[in-house]
């Protein structure tokens, strides 16, 4: 019954136009960024590498598809959470708004099956969205700009060899899926609490903004809670572009995110199982 319920949920998710907002946005944005970097990316690097360019000459295809994919990853990462909440936030609350809880829950499926199938459908949507971002960024980037070393410009510059790149991207996108699934899980939990779709979307974005601010402010007061905030770990994908990779930090961040996912799913399940359907 779970497979049937999941298929029904996916059919519903992908029948709504709002589901495709994220995909359309990516499809429009990524080519624009790739073309812009193709035209003027050299200036970006010149500014960032000017210290080194005084002492060194750089050869090779620095402004390549891999580097651009990395840049796009960092740029879109801030905005994908909003796209994710559009679907996850509507998952349960949308049924209440439209009055279709009654239709669903007078079928011979358990509430656990109903909630789980909706949760899985939301997670599948997130994975497909991130995968699309990966395909567009890497595929279009490599097509337009070719391959080469990845130049990671953070507090220091890391140049990753061309043959050392793809596995990092694979793991980074997997980590991004985990991060976005965590955001979707928070939205899903909010969706179980209210009976309109807008509330969970706005609430989830507010949580992300507040937690991100707390993570960024360097106050001792926040030191103890910062490691617990899921937003503090969402950027763990960047660790995969360090040399060497700090696997313990990656594992810690992944565990915190997975823990948040499990907690949000569990809480939503308990809430829906116990609630009276009055809409």
């Amino acid at each position: 019954m779970m497979i049937t319920a999941l298929r029904v949920e996916l059919a519903k998710v992908f029948s709504k136009w709002r589901t495709f907002i994220g995909f359309i946005a990516m499809t429009l944005l990524v080519p624009v960024i790739v073309l812009a970097m193709s035209a003027e990316g050299g200036q970006y690097f010149s500014f960032a590498m000017q210290t080194l360019q005084q002492a060194f000459t750089f050869t090779g295809n620095l402004m390549n598809g891999y580097t651009v994919a990395y840049i796009i990853f960092g740029a879109l990462y801030l905005h994908v959470p909003f796209l994710v909440t559009l679907v996850a936030g509507d998952s349960l609350a949308g049924e209440a708004t439209s009055g279709t809880y009654r239709l669903l829950l007078t079928r011979p499926l358990t509430r656990t099956t109903m909630v789980t199938s909706k949760y899985l459908a939301s997670m599948i949507y997130v994975k497909l969205l991130v995968l699309w971002m990966a395909i567009l960024s890497l595929g279009l980037g490599v097509l337009v700009l070719g391959t080469g070393e990845v130049i990671v410009i953070r507090s220091q510059i890391t140049i990753i060899a061309q043959n050392d790149v793809l596995w990092r991207f694979a793991l980074a996108y997997a980590f991004a899926m985990l991060s976005m699934m965590t955001v979707a899980s928070v939205a899903f939990l909010c969706s179980s609490l209210v009976e309109n779709s807008i509330g969970p979307i706005m609430t989830t974005m507010a949580i992300i903004i507040v937690f991100t601010i707390i993570s960024a402010i360097d106050l001792p007061l926040f030191d103890s809670i910062r490691p617990l905030l899921f937003t503090n770990h969402m950027n763990g994908w960047k660790l995969l572009f360090d040399d060497p990779v700090d696997w313990s930090r990656v594992a810690t961040s992944a565990s915190v995110l997975a823990g948040h996912m499990a907690a949000c799913y569990g809480a939503a399940l308990i809430i829906v199982r116990r609630k009276d359907i009055l809409t």
């Binding site: 298929r7 029904v8 059919a11 829950l105 011979p108 358990t110 009276d276």
Partner: protein
């Protein structure tokens, strides 16, 4: 075997008792009328019967199985409309039935879906999005989704609301057919009392969360006062003749050729005899009990 057995059903929200001790039994093949004024607890009771709401206390058993422990097994055999029929407006009627039917493990073949849509008169609108449907069309679609998986028990909450007279007649005949020809059990809640009167075999009336009466429709309607139409050419003279009797206050109406009184069954003969004594020719006596009158009287008394 009773199809629905409800015992001591209670539902409280804080100090407010929405359902306050309801018992009912529905036998197989019954068309069971569920009546009560607004706020009586009908919706809450139906939701508890379908596991949408958890009872504060009491038991619900369907097909002789407790709902709490056999929910999925039971609901496979139940089709329901609860209050207004809401669907996924962004999907077509066909797609709604297909997806909901899958969850009910119904036959979701094109033939099967088109069959139920044909029953409710929506086969020509199968591939239109539900958001373009009128309320009456959604009502029909609601009945279609309740029937798709060929359930043994059909729970209909206000099924004819928003339908035109032809639509109401179609639904009424459908209900009767389901019961008589297919041995389905129908649990029918409606405000349109003549419809219930024409279809229900048994009924319950509740008010303020409590049972007022339960039983066979005919038995309930035959008990107590009847609306008696006495056919005569001189109804004015009949009124005069009854003026000195206690029945003067029972006169309920008059037409050109009849006088209408509210009488107990055992009073009819006495009234006819009195009129005959006054030289009035009586052409016919028609004792009728309308559900609407019965219902209103019950509710008034209970209040």
């Amino acid at each position: 075997m009773p199809v629905i057995t409800v015992r001591g059903l209670h539902k409280s929200y804080g100090d407010f008792h929405a359902v306050n001790g309801i018992d009912l039994t529905v036998e197989q093949g019954d068309v069971y009328g569920f009546l009560g004024p607004n706020g009586a607890g009908k919706s809450t009771t139906i939701r508890m019967m379908l596991s949408l709401v958890k009872p504060t206390s009491g038991t619900v058993a369907l097909f002789d199985k407790p709902l709490t422990t056999h929910r999925e097994e039971i609901l496979r055999r139940v089709g329901a409309i609860v209050e207004r029929p809401d669907f996924y407006n962004y999907l077509t009627a066909y797609r709604n039935l297909e997806l909901l039917g899958r969850l009910s493990r119904a036959d979701v073949s094109t033939a099967s879906i088109m069959r139920v849509l044909g029953i409710v008169g929506l086969d020509t609108r199968a591939h239109d999005k539900v958001k373009t449907f009128s309320h009456g069309m959604k009502q029909r679609l609601g009945i279609a989704q309740a029937l798709l998986h060929d359930p043994d028990l059909i729970v209909l909450d206000e099924p004819t609301t928003g339908l035109d007279p032809q639509g109401m007649k179609d639904i009424r005949e459908l209900i009767l057919s389901l019961s008589a020809d297919h041995r389905k059990t129908v649990f029918l809640s409606s405000h349109i009392l003549p419809e219930v009167e024409l279809t229900a075999t048994r009924m319950i009336v509740i008010n303020r969360g409590k049972t007022i009466v339960e039983g066979s429709v005919q038995d309930l309607l035959n008990a107590g006062r009847l609306r008696v139409t006495i056919e005569t050419d001189r109804p004015h003279d009949a009124v005069t003749a009854l003026g000195t009797t206690p029945f003067a206050g029972r006169i309920n109406g008059m037409t050109e050729r009849a006088l209408i009184l509210m009488l107990d069954r055992n009073e009819i003969a006495g009234v006819v005899h009195h009129l005959d004594q006054h030289g009035l020719a009586i052409h016919g006596v028609v004792p009728v009990r309308s559900l609407e009158e019965y219902f209103l009287s019950l509710v008034r008394e209970a209040s």
